[in-house]
C-alpha cells in the first residue's frame, strides 16, 4: 500500500479513500430522528404557508403593518436572511482567494447555507407586497404599456443585487460540487441516486483537462463572488441609507451592514455545523481548530459591528441634529428599549467572551454564544427598521408597531423553509467537499515506503 502521511489541517483523516467513505456515508438512508425532525419542519412550514394564505386572501391588514411602519417584521427578516447568506460566500470565495487552508471541509455546508438563506430572503420582499402576485413588475420586461422600472430607486438595485447573488451563489454551489457528485455517482448503488448524480456530474471523469478548466473557472467565479458579496449587503443597506429617515440616513450603513452580515452568517454556520458534527460523527472533519478560526472571525466582525453601533451614537450626538439625536435616544430609552438592549448585549458584549482561547475551543460554549448572536442580529435589523419608522418625521404620524400572529407565523415558517432545504441537502448531496479536502491532505505517495521505482531507464 501507498504510504500515508498526516495532514496539518485535518490530522484525523488518513487517506483519500477514507474521505470518500466518510462523506458518502452521509448519503445513506435517513434514520428515525431525521424523519421526525423533517416532519416537524414540514408542520411549521405548513403553518407559515397557511398564515401567508390568510394574508393573501384577507389582505395585508392581517399583518401589523400600517403607516408609518410599512416595513416591519418582513423586511427585518429579509435583511436577516440576506445577512446569514454572506458567510457562505466568505468561506467559499474570499477564504479561497486568501488560501486559508482550513476552509475546505466546512465550505460546502456554508455554501449550501448561502443558497438556502438567499432563497428564504428572496421570499420576504414578495410576501411583504400587498399584491404578491404582481411581483414581476420589479423586473425590466418589455410590456404593452411601455413602462419600465425606475433604475434610480434603491429597491430596484436590490432586485438586481439579490437576484444576481441568488443566481451566482447557486451556480457556484452546483459547479463546485461536480467532482464530488461524480464521486457519489461512482460509489452509490441506489438507482435514483445514480441517475441524479449522473445528471449533476455532467459526465465528470477527473481528467487533467477537466481539472485544468475547472480550477480556472472556480478561481474566476471566486474572484467575481468576492466583490459581489460585499456589494449585496451594501445595496441592501442603501435601501435604508438613501432615504432621509432619521436613524437610516447615514453613510456608515454599507460597511456596517457587511460586517454585520458576515458576523451573523459565521455565527449561523457554527450553529448549524456543531450539531451536524455531533450527529454524523464528523469530528475529524470539523476540528476544534475550525471553530477557533471561525470564532476569531466572529470576534473581529463583531468588534466592527460594535464599533459601528458606538459610532452611530457618537455621530448622532456630534451632529447636533435634533431629529438624529432623538432617533438614537429613542432607540436606547424609547418604547423599544428592550430590543436595542438585546441587540447590544448579544452582539456587542457576549461575543467578547471569545477573546478567551478556552472558550474558543469549548464547542458547547461557542454553540451558546452563536445562538445569542443569531438572536441579536435579528433584533439589530428590527431596531433599525422599527424604531426609526415608528418615530418618522412629524409627531402626529407616530404610531407603535407590533408584529401580528401572521407575521410571527411567517417568520417561523421561514426558518422551517430554510431547514427543510438544508435537511434535504444533507441527505442528497455531498455535505463536505471530497475533492477540495483531498487537496489539503497529502497525496498517496509510495516513495516514502522505501520501495524504489525505476523511472529514468523506463524509455524503450
Amino acid at each position: 500500500m501507498a504510504t500515508e502521511r498526516r495532514s496539518e489541517t485535518h490530522p484525523g483523516i488518513d487517506s483519500y479513500g477514507r474521505v470518500n467513505r466518510d462523506v458518502l456515508k452521509l448519503l445513506s438512508v435517513p434514520g428515525r430522528a431525521y424523519r421526525i425532525l423533517f416532519a416537524c419542519v414540514l408542520v411549521v412550514l405548513a403553518w407559515g404557508i397557511f398564515a401567508f394564505g390568510t394574508q393573501v386572501v384577507l389582505g395585508i391588514g392581517m399583518s401589523g403593518l400600517n403607516n408609518p411602519v410599512s416595513w416591519g417584521l418582513y423586511i427585518t427578516t429579509f435583511v436577516f436572511w440576506v445577512g446569514i447568506a454572506h458567510s457562505g460566500t466568505l468561506i467559499s470565495a474570499i477564504l479561497y482567494l486568501f488560501r486559508a487552508r482550513w476552509r475546505q471541509s466546512i465550505y460546502r455546508v456554508a455554501e449550501a447555507m448561502t443558497v438556502f438563506a438567499v432563497l428564504t430572503a428572496g421570499l420576504f420582499p414578495i410576501i411583504h407586497l400587498g399584491r404578491p402576485w404582481v411581483f414581476y413588475y420589479l423586473l425590466p420586461y418589455p410590456n404593452q404599456r411601455l413602462i419600465w422600472p425606475n433604475f434610480r430607486g434603491p429597491l430596484l438595485w436590490d432586485v438586481f443585487a439579490v437576484g444576481t447573488y441568488l443566481t451566482v451563489s447557486t451556480v457556484f454551489f452546483f459547479v463546485g460540487m461536480i467532482p464530488d457528485v461524480a464521486a457519489a455517482r461512482d460509489a452509490t448503488t441506489v438507482t435514483w441516486r445514480k441517475k441524479l448524480y449522473t445528471v449533476l456530474a455532467f459526465g465528470w471523469r477527473g481528467t487533467n483537462t477537466e481539472w485544468k478548466h475547472f480550477n480556472r473557472a472556480y478561481l474566476y467565479l471566486a474572484a467575481l463572488a468576492t466583490p459581489l458579496v460585499l456589494s449585496v449587503h451594501s445595496v441592501v443597506s442603501w435601501d435604508f441609507a438613501v432615504s432621509i429617515v432619521p436613524g437610516w440616513h447615514t453613510t456608515i450603513f454599507a460597511p456596517y451592514f457587511v460586517a454585520g452580515a458576515i458576523f451573523s452568517g459565521l455565527a449561523m454556520v457554527m450553529t448549524i455545523v456543531i450539531p451536524i458534527r455531533k450527529i454524523f460523527g464528523l469530528e475529524a472533519y470539523f476540528t476544534p481548530r475550525h471553530f477557533d478560526m471561525m470564532s476569531k472571525l466572529v470576534l473581529l466582525t463583531g468588534m466592527v459591528v460594535f464599533y459601528a453601533y458606538l459610532t452611530e451614537y457618537f455621530i448622532a450626538w456630534y451632529s447636533v441634529e435634533t431629529p438624529e439625536r432623538y432617533a438614537f435616544w429613542n432607540r436606547a430609552f424609547g418604547e423599544y428599549w428592550w430590543a436595542t438592549w438585546i441587540m447590544l448585549t448579544c452582539n456587542g458584549i457576549i461575543p467578547q467572551l471569545l477573546w478567551s482561547k478556552k472558550i474558543r475551543t469549548n464547542i458547547a460554549a461557542i454553540f451558546t454564544i452563536t445562538i445569542f448572536i443569531n438572536i441579536g442580529m435579528w433584533f439589530e435589523r428590527f431596531v433599525i427598521i422599527v424604531t426609526s419608522l415608528t418615530r418618522e418625521y412629524e409627531p402626529w404620524q407616530w404610531r407603535p408597531y407590533m408584529p401580528s400572529w401572521v407575521e410571527m407565523s411567517i417568520l417561523a415558517g421561514s426558518f422551517a423553509w430554510f431547514f427543510m432545504w438544508f435537511l434535504l441537502f444533507l441527505r442528497i448531496l455531498p455535505g463536505v467537499s471530497v475533492a477540495e479536502l483531498k487537496e489539503v491532505l497529502p497525496a498517496p505517495i509510495r516513495r516514502l515506503s522505501g520501495r524504489r521505482i525505476q523511472t529514468g531507464e523506463a524509455s524503450p
Binding site: 500500500m1 483519500y16 470518500n20 467532482p179 459526465g203 477527473g206 483537462t209 485544468k212 478548466h213 480556472r216
Partner: protein, 177 residues
C-alpha cells in the same frame, strides 16, 4: 480507428503516476489523459499544459454585463423620460450599481458556459475509459495508441512505473462503473 484505442494504466500512488507520465513523454508518447481524484499541481507540471482559456469567457461575459448594465437603464429611461426625485434622466451613479451587478452576473454565467464548452459537458455518453476508483483514491493514465502501432512499449513503461492494473482500452472492451 476507434477513438478509444489505447492503454489505461491505474496507479495507487501519485509519484508512480508522475513517473509514468515522465517516462511516457520521454519516450515520445504524449497523447495521454490523466485521471486524478483531486486537482494536482504535480501532475499539471508533469504534463506541461498551457493555461486554460476559460478566462476569455469571463472577460467577455463581464464586459458584456457592464455594457448591458449601462445600456438597459439608459435606453429604458429615455424610452419614457420621466423626471423623478429631481435627478437627471440618465443618472450615472445609479447605473453603476446595475452595471456592477450585471458584470458579475454575466461574467459568472459565461465562465460556467466556458467551462462547459471547453470540457464538452454535459458528457452523456457512458464512461468507457474510466474507473470508479478515479474519483476516490487512484490515478489513471490513458495513452492513445494509433491504429496499427503496438501498445507493448507503453504497457512496459506503466508496468515499471508501478501500475497496479493495465487495461487495453479499445472501444467497449473496458467499461467501468
Amino acid at each position: 480507428m476507434s477513438a478509444h484505442s489505447g492503454v489505461l494504466g491505474i496507479f495507487e500512488a501519485r509519484d508512480d503516476a508522475v513517473a509514468a507520465i515522465d517516462a511516457l513523454r520521454a519516450a515520445g508518447m504524449k497523447r495521454m489523459t490523466v485521471y486524478s481524484p483531486a486537482p494536482d499541481h504535480t501532475i499539471e507540471h508533469a504534463l506541461h499544459e498551457p493555461k486554460s482559456p476559460v478566462r476569455i469567457f469571463t472577460l467577455v461575459g463581464g464586459l458584456t454585463g457592464a455594457a448591458t448594465g449601462f445600456a438597459l437603464p439608459t435606453w429604458t429611461s429615455l424610452h419614457w423620460p420621466l423626471v423623478t426625485g429631481g435627478k437627471p434622466i440618465i443618472s450615472m451613479p445609479a447605473w453603476v450599481i446595475i452595471a456592477f451587478e450585471l458584470t458579475v452576473l454575466f461574467g459568472a454565467l459565461s465562465t460556467v458556459l466556458g467551462l462547459f464548452i471547453l470540457n464538452r459537458w454535459p458528457n452523456r455518453k457512458p464512461l468507457i475509459i474510466y474507473d470508479a476508483s478515479f474519483s476516490a483514491d487512484r490515478y489513471g493514465i490513458h495513452l492513445d495508441v494509433p491504429a496499427g502501432a503496438s501498445a507493448a512499449a507503453a504497457r512496459d513503461i506503466m508496468n515499471r512505473a508501478g501500475a497496479v492494473e493495465i487495461r487495453e482500452a479499445r472501444g467497449e472492451v473496458t467499461s467501468a462503473s
